[in-house]
Amino acid sequence: MVATSSVGRRLARRQGGGFAAIRSQRLRQWLITAALLGPVLIFLGICFIAPLGELLSLSFTGKGGPLASYREIAASEVYRKVFVNTLNLAFNVAVITSLLSYPTAYLLSRLRGHALSIALWCVLFPLWISVLVRTFAWILLLGQNGPVNHLLVGSGLVNQPVSFLFNSTGVYIGMVHVLLPYALLPIYTSMRNVEQTLVLASDGLGATPLQTFRHVYLPLTMPGVAAGFLLVFLLALGFYITPAILGGLRNLTVAMLIDLFVTEQLVWPLAAAAAFWLLFLVLALVLIASRFANLTATVVAR
């Protein structure tokens, strides 16, 4: 009797010790996870979220109430025009890049081996080069005495040099060049994932090539097109360097307007409000885009 109870007590003690050991083991695991994830979260909290929070509270400090700056931007015809122009530009650039990307992605999707490596290199290499260098290259090429005008005049297509720079043409060329890979990669991926048997089945059932394309291939690759289009659209909305260098005064984008507010006019509440209007547009697009594609993988597609 005595012996049993003492064994029981010892067992109980050991079990209690077991629970404590498991609990301390869990605590240890939790601490390791926290130690691994903590630094990055603290860093982003201090260097990203807190500054944006500061900017948000700054946007409410305009003269005439907390929402005065937001109202001023929405009410002013000049500022509204900059927003409309930027949306227009971003939308058109997204359309052009998608149209150029589709046949190119189709070409890539049929390449194998070395040819594919070279073609992919052509798409990924520009993403490694600074936007500033890519934009600067167009100044060299599109100038009045640049090679593009030499070719055009020399071939007799035009009588006098075309002015490509410091107007919308230059901005469009530069932005399409910089953003094209972002539209191309998602389309390419969607084409790679098309089941070839579906295309063959459609052909086998007597569909014309055009019918196969319209009813089978295009619907299957449309999510990729949508993802690329939205990604380019949202990246183009915040563009600053390319329109600032290749565009003229009439090609003011929201990003350039924000810069003007900060560096020339020193009106911080207006700059902050314009930035949050811009963010609002971007987030709306992200929300739509997240229904089509894994944005994470696409944004870091280098």
């Binding site: 996870t33 630094p39 990307s101 500033l132 260098v133 811009l278």
Partner: protein, 267 residues
């Protein structure tokens, strides 16, 4: 699809691929121009503007500043990003998606917005115009590349390797050092290179965070392009391209055909 559309897509696709690469390469012959203005193609080739670049302390100081900032940013991103990738393996998928979202968000928020916010916060702290301030800003944009690259390597590790290490009596730290670390080394190299280049190339953040004491090469270029049209900017561009290509080659050599696999991973 018919042969005709195939040929049409081949031609259109080839033109687009050439349109992507050739304009960038045009910068290189322009940098060897001998004339005092940029002419493409140049009449005479020389190293005249490379000598000007090296003789002007403002230019090569900018290059050195770029190196220092990129090295600092890549180091911070690698430390924070690798720890984060390891930590993200230990949490639930929902938490993981949430943290990924937070890490990626600096790439989605317009850079101009992050730039003015950091400028506003860093000025009173004395971080504005310093190497550290620039590196911290660049780290925001470089981190996602490290987290994604290291994450891909980590997911590629067979969990049995770690179980075997544990079964043989290795402590978690030792298992990490002798099993995990060697296996994710390609991911670290790739992520580090991406981080370095993304800092080296960054313009908008740098324009707002740079000062007289710390002015990276792209900022010096930006200021010059807006004032005058000189072949020195072509030299600076060529140097930026050369360094990028060099790193690209190093990553290719250390990680095999990862780049093409990455592209396939994008979806």
């Amino acid at each position: 699809m018919t042969n005709k559309t195939r040929i049409a897509s081949n031609i259109a696709g080839s033109i687009v691929l050439a349109f992507l690469v050739l304009p960038i390469l045009a910068v290189i012959p322009a940098s060897f121009d001998d004339a005092s203005y940029i002419k493409l193609p140049p009449d005479m080739m020389s190293l005249r503007w490379y000598r000007v670049f090296l003789a002007d302390p403002e230019w090569w100081q900018a290059l050195i500043t770029s190196f220092k900032v990129a090295l600092l940013a890549a180091t911070i991103s690698l430390l924070l990003g690798t720890a984060a990738s390891l930590g993200m393996q230990r949490v639930s998928p929902v938490t993981r998606a949430l943290i990924t979202g937070i890490v990626i968000s600096p790439l989605v928020v317009p850079v101009i917005m992050t730039s003015i916010a950091l400028y506003y916060v860093m000025r009173p702290l004395g971080l504005h115009g310093t190497l550290l301030g620039l590196a911290l800003g660049h780290t925001l944009l470089a981190l996602p590349f490290v987290v994604v690259n290291v994450g891909i390597s980590l997911r590629g590790i067979d969990p049995n390797f770690l179980r075997a290490a544990e079964g043989l009596g290795a402590t978690p730290w030792r298992a990490f050092r002798t099993v995990t670390l060697p296996l994710i080394l390609p991911g670290l190299a790739g992520g580090g290179a991406f981080a370095f280049v993304s800092s080296f190339d960054e313009v908008v953040l740098s324009i707002f965070l740079a000062g007289v004491q710390a002015k990276p090469l792209p900022v010096k270029m930006w200021e010059t392009i807006r004032v005058e049209f000189t072949p020195v900017t072509a030299v600076a561009s060529s140097i930026l391209i050369a360094i990028t290509v060099l790193l690209f080659a190093v990553v290719k050599l250390t990680t095999g055909t990862r780049t093409s696999r990455r592209a396939e991973h994008v979806s």
